[in-house]
Symmetry: C2
Subunit: 364 residues, 2 copies
Amino acid sequence: MASYKLLLLPGDGIGPEVAGGMQVVLDALKETGLATFETETDLVGGCALDAHGRPLSDETLARARAADAILLGAVGGPKWAGVAYENRPEAGLLRLRKDLELFANLRPAICYPALADASALKRELVEGLDIMIVRELTGGVYFGEPKEITTLPDGSKRAVDTQVYTTGEIERIAHVAFDLAAKRSGRVASAEKHNVMKSGVLWKEVVTKVHAEHYAQIELEHVLADNCAMQLVRRPKQFDVLVTDNLFGDVLSDLAAMLTGSLGMLPSASLGAVDDSGVRRALYEPCHGSAPDIAGQDKANPIAMIGSLTMCLRYSFGLGEAADALDGAVMDALASGARTADIAGEGTNPMGTRAMANAVADAL
Amino acid sequence: MASYKLLLLPGDGIGPEVAGGMQVVLDALKETGLATFETETDLVGGCALDAHGRPLSDETLARARAADAILLGAVGGPKWAGVAYENRPEAGLLRLRKDLELFANLRPAICYPALADASALKRELVEGLDIMIVRELTGGVYFGEPKEITTLPDGSKRAVDTQVYTTGEIERIAHVAFDLAAKRSGRVASAEKHNVMKSGVLWKEVVTKVHAEHYAQIELEHVLADNCAMQLVRRPKQFDVLVTDNLFGDVLSDLAAMLTGSLGMLPSASLGAVDDSGVRRALYEPCHGSAPDIAGQDKANPIAMIGSLTMCLRYSFGLGEAADALDGAVMDALASGARTADIAGEGTNPMGTRAMANAVADAL
Ligand SMILES: CC(C)[C@H](C(=O)O)[C@@H](O)C(=O)O
Ligand SMILES: CC(C)[C@H](C(=O)O)[C@@H](O)C(=O)O
């Protein structure tokens, strides 16, 4: 039986709770005998800063490199609002993404039928919604240099961030998007601002070329990022796979997640290239943040974190059956009325994080 | 009686039609004797490129400088998809914004009661919605240098855009936002990505300082741009004035406009500083684009363009009464059932651009 090494990085806020919920499910999974998992737990974000003076220590980074996959909860919170830019909790997450070269961020925006009414949008617009956002994660304005604040002669300041994209960076993310689309509906939309940004011009050019050379059977549409935000609201189901850069991906994926009404349910995968030994570096985390306002109250929804484990089974370990079983268990738990507060409709009785995780584990 | 010099730049696509509709209303306004207007018409965008080989000629720019206000329709369309980056239709609009230093872009996102059902969002979430987005318009990644595509030694390419903001640029847009809020609900939300961008760090710092020093009575909230997109969908009415940078403003203002269900109805104002002679440079344009798919068919909704004239009366000429009268005329026309196709509900009979403009002019 295959054995996998998982690094758990619960992080801050509700991170430890939802990670705890996922652990319950992981234990149940071990009992099914499908695979064995060796887990190690470590610190990232504000808690790492508190413990080691850095939001990601070199030791943790080394452990992340050695693991078969990483499962991360969430980072950040008001407690660290005042720390230096270099040490903010988010820097730990960004360092993981960059140093492990996790360039492909997959963010499914799925509207769970049981939750369609929780959406701000009219039911008919979101029912059955299933978009896969493919966000470039290690380039663009997040990491380009110069990135600095300088003081001008008159004492005022000047801040600079640099958006950089190369042909190679765009090619590899385009391949991820087209490959995914081939297994889905065969449609890709690519969002940029080629009417204002040179990186948008190159983005459009390279995506067009990759498409023409390798994926003629896939339907490709180019959409301006501002129009994309509008279309996501107007008629979200027109999209299947949506590929975009790091910054637009940040905004558009959050927007799409919110449309579904299922924010607390949505996982994400951040994937690197397959290395010489056939291993693909990968980090899985919920789309939601650290939600400090409800942290420590056993209120958070663990399903996004559990779904991150499902994605891990599927994308890192090829355990499609186990992943399907876990997806099914979540559906069954929801169908039987299990709800945390964020997704509790009228007349339902919300349960805690732990109870929700147990409901999923029981259904497994 | 005061006399004002208006430069009309109808532009491309539906631009000429909606500008024509506005002209009908302008003529009606002249008859009321509230003010006289001297109008000149010129080219911008694709049509200027076709005529002069540039999307904005120096002569047109000089006319724009000499005018008391500019009313622009829309620019761009597939016809010019292949032209060089420097000559694309949008470059004409961007040159106007930059050369006239129209740094403050005001984009109201208002949900007209008669149209609340046209929104993708549930009626109760958008009914009565009235957000004023204040977008910085002459800085950030739109204009920062370097902005270029270079070829690397291996033949692949590297594209760079540069986001730059200075203390002064942020201060002046913050003042616009706070001053507006003082006349509205007294609340400002400021959106950036200080957790990833140095320009976001400076943005937050300067907005905080301007607030503390000059606007202690205004309520200020900082929100991350990705979260802002989510909150706009989840609970849009939580916002009153929303101030943000050029690129986030581009995406968030389109998003907010789409939420209202009234996209064809929303105007915008782009304002500069007041110069030595007491004149404030200003350009007014609809939020919608050139909609090439319906151009030339007398289908476009002229209300956003008429609303741009209303904003012009109010912000450039201090003609509050005339502006109110025009707003009232639009309301009356809508109340009497006048609808273009984009806002026609079930059981209503859509009318054309020209008929809609006449309905407003008659109501005046
Ligand atoms: C926490 C933050 C740095 C991060 C980002 O901006 O990428 C988050 O918003 C996300 O989308 O994963
Ligand atoms: C036409 C385009 C250059 C422009 C922009 O990106 O600013 C438009 O989208 C807008 O919002 O006015």
